[in-house]
Symmetry: C2
Subunit: 518 residues, 2 copies
């Protein structure tokens, strides 16, 4: 077996400016390059808070400026210079998710083991679509899918695939459900499209993630195919309301799927899965569970029982780049059986001709809308093996504990109003003002004030405070995913909100006075 | 600003088993962890060839075995143990794209600078969907999009977005084209779906990538919406044939898009873009160019002229995880204008409420089907800055040179038949046998023989050798993307094919003798 030798490298035309990451000593080059980046991050002026202070337009301009004009330079500055430059840009003008006051989104500070494993996978650049683009990566993905399916309680026939994120997992789940329902109606959606499919309907809680609407638009169903089912006082889909809607769908309608949520983005609310599964089974409708956020609760012995019924789903969206401390993307679509993936089966001459498949040369092309697909499973496998259920469960419990601490603190503050009891690791609340008509404005403004000062990064949402039909009001939200944060950090975060609220009120009073005087 | 202190870490309930990658010293922990992986890759038994020898089923089983039973362990083995284990699995049972005999797929051995930059981005875990999930990552993505749009020759109004791969870029481009065409027909596809859209048609060369068919199925159009246009002798779409089909589409048909290819996966063929653009302009049809493979030719002064006309496209698919030496994913969908993204616009209470957007808090949510989206642009920016157009152009020219060398060598070998002249960095050819009826079987078998022995990884496809209507025949393919490989490596690869072909012939002769004797 001939390896590229130094002699061969002197062949005319040879030009090779930088090491290849996957070569026998390529990972050493990656480590060295990362060392340059590390040096630059240490020398960079890290913002004091979780994000850079300043008006967002100014921050974006400052972040882009060091990159130079938007034109490909003729000559490069070399790997070291490029890495130092980008490390500085990312640290000085980026978000710091490890900062204890970063509490806006379901975006965790990732574990070092996951980042290192992802770099290892990147260096090899295996792709899981065909056997010969990376057999080991395929084996690792199959292991991860099997482990997660088992954790979900699915049976031995379960299957699944990694996807680039929860929104695309939901889209894929709905595509499989759509084509299965079409087939039962005698419509070959894959070949003929869905024009002949009578009145497609997707049923879900009124609080379902917007990616379900987006998926319906992408899949050609239109957003109006979504039928919103009302929620109960704990913001969970009402099974009897679902049953009523399904009973009353006429024969001119085709229910494609019920989308239940296990861990609403804002409230962490978990729909009553066993009751919903009973309804979907009775009506023969596909049950998709969007557990993008909630799935990670299975790592915790304490919280896992809240996901009872998950094993009854036909498909499940999992995002371990939420409660799982992975860098994005680490999403999985699990299915109750492999047959669910039938609509994605393809034989392609350059990838999986039948005689190769018969000989065992098989990849994962038939489970995905992607062709080349990165080995995202490697970082997940590394994390599961490194920390086990107990280690990850403790991270979940720690963040849940921070949320319940925040809840107590908020409930005890007269200036704050708790909107909803904590379910997982988010807390939704409001800052109260003496002028209720101004509450929305003050809450929105105080959040921007904190962000612009760089002091704290708090989430925001809107919800009905007074039941069905009441107006949606602006709320604040802590999304607590930093297991290194402490109760003291949470207290300081609450204090920062209170300070900003008072500042906004003073500002608003002054504005009202000026308006009155004018 | 309070930072988590050692004192705070002693708060009851605190449990934190592993460093967070994005913390001030988190990157040091990533480097250390990667060091463990590096140690394990050095100690591992690297296969002699580009992939492990053995029957594929056995290889996959051997790769999965070290991971243990498919069950989440209760206790973890720690980050070091997990990384060592996975490093060994990936090296011992994976593909080595840096091996000079890895020549099967459009999957390059990635540059160390790109892998290090991707690890840097991973550590921070910024997401580009909203301002406050990572302003610097947004600035970097905007810079990369602008640089690539300019390189493509698009005007100052151009826009674009990163996607998880070429197949999804094609899907997104067709979604935008579909909804724009529907709007012109008075159909609000986003809300009402496409049931009322009359006879949707997507026109493309008969050699278009299968992801276009898949996208049509996903988008609810059905694969039968694809109308295949014949190709010329150089496997390029015939503009006059396209014009004829468009002229003859009745009013009951809606042409959604013409999909041209700039760099066919197998042959590198580039459709005649200026002529196709003239036809699409005349008929007012969206021109999408799938330049997933070919775009990188723009880095080369020598090859760039072949992409003339690319600037006339309405949307362009770019994959820098092909001719760009990035780890996957590094795909971009470029558009001629920002208005193209209108169908994806969404206002979401927890992400981009209108008052925040008015205040400048804006992310890239409205350009993507994804929500959380990793900062894939960082590695691309690092590579463009590090090597510039000249450095990347030399990599492209080196690989193109290897392909033309392979072409000469193949043309000179009586046992081999060149199928098509080299355009970019692939070479399609066949092994000739004395029994033409057996050629397909021998070519397929010799490729598997090489793979199973682990000696060489050669591509495969099927194509019509004798013009329209002739049967598709099995061909072999070298996909040459390793800039560290030499002409001598290519010669050795050709020798390996010749050896395997002769072995297969001997084997087949023996089989035929045995059949005759039986």
């Amino acid at each position: 077996m001939i390896r590229t030798s130094d002699a061969a490298r002197r062949t005319p035309g040879y030009y090779f400016p930088t090491p290849l990451a996957g070569a026998p000593d390529g990972l050493a080059a990656v480590c060295a390059a990362l060392g340059h980046a590390l040096g630059a991050t240490r020398a960079a002026r890290r913002p004091e808070g979780p994000l850079p202070a300043g008006d967002p337009t100014a921050v974006l301009a400052a972040a882009g400026a060091p990159l130079g004009p938007a034109q490909l330079p003729t000559e490069g500055i070399g790997p070291e210079g490029a890495l130092r430059l980008l490390a500085r840009v990312l640290v000085e003008h980026g978000v710091d998710l490890t900062h204890p006051h970063a509490a806006a989104h379901l975006q965790p500070p990732p574990l070092a083991v996951a980042v290192a494993a992802d770099a290892l996978a990147d260096a090899g650049n295996a792709s899981v679509d065909t056997y010969d683009s990376g057999p080991s990566a395929i084996a690792v993905e199959r292991w991860v899918v099997d482990v997660l399916a088992r954790l979900a309680g699915l049976g031995p026939a379960a299957d699944g695939v990694l996807t680039p994120g929860g929104s695309l997992s939901n889209l894929l789940g709905l595509l499989l459900a759509r084509d299965a329902a079409a087939a039962r109606r005698g419509v070959d959606a894959r070949r003929h499209g869905i024009a002949a499919l009578p009145g497609p309907v997707v049923l879900c809680s009124e609080l379902v993630h917007f990616s379900v609407h987006r998926a319906c638009a992408a899949l050609g169903l239109g957003e109006f195919a979504v039928r919103a089912i009302p929620v109960d006082g704990r913001r969970r889909m009402r099974p009897e309301a679902l049953a009523g809607v399904l009973r009353n769908l006429g024969p001119e309608r085709t229910p494609l799927a019920v989308v239940a949520t296990a861990g609403n983005t804002d409230f962490g609310a978990i729909d009553p899965l066993p009751q919903l599964a009973e309804v979907t089974r009775e009506h023969g409708v596909w049950l998709h569970v969007d557990a993008a956020y909630g799935f990670g609760a299975l790592f915790s012995e304490h919280l896992a029982p809240r996901l009872a019924g998950l094993e009854l789903a036909d498909s499940i969206t999992v995002d371990l780049h939420k409660l799982g401390w992975q860098p994005a993307a680490a999403s999985v679509l699990l299915t109750a059986g492999a047959a669910a993936f039938a609509p994605l089966g393809r034989e392609v001459a350059y990838l999986n001709p039948a005689d190769d498949t018969d000989a065992g040369y098989e990849g994962l092309l038939g489970r995905s809308l992607q062709t080349t697909r990165r080995a995202d499973a490697v970082k997940i496998a590394a994390t599961l093996l490194a920390h086990g259920r107990r280690g990850l469960g403790r991270l979940v419990d720690t963040c849940h504990g921070l949320a319940t601490h925040a809840q107590q603190r908020i409930a005890a503050e007269p200036e704050l109003e708790l909107v909803c009891p904590v379910e997982l690791t988010t807390v939704v609340f409001r800052y109260r003002t003496p002028y209720p008509a101004m509450d929305d404005e003050v809450n929105a403004r105080l959040r921007r004030r904190l962000a612009e000062s760089g002091r704290a990064l708090v989430g925001r949402t809107a919800t009905r405070l007074a039941g069905p039909g009441s107006p949606r009001r602006v709320c604040l939200k802590f999304t607590l995913l930093n297991p290194a944060a402490t109760q003291r950090d949470v207290d300081a975060l609450v204090d920062a909100v209170l300070d900003a609220g008072r500042e906004c009120l003073t500002e608003l009073d002054r504005e009202l006075d000026e308006e009155g005087a004018a």
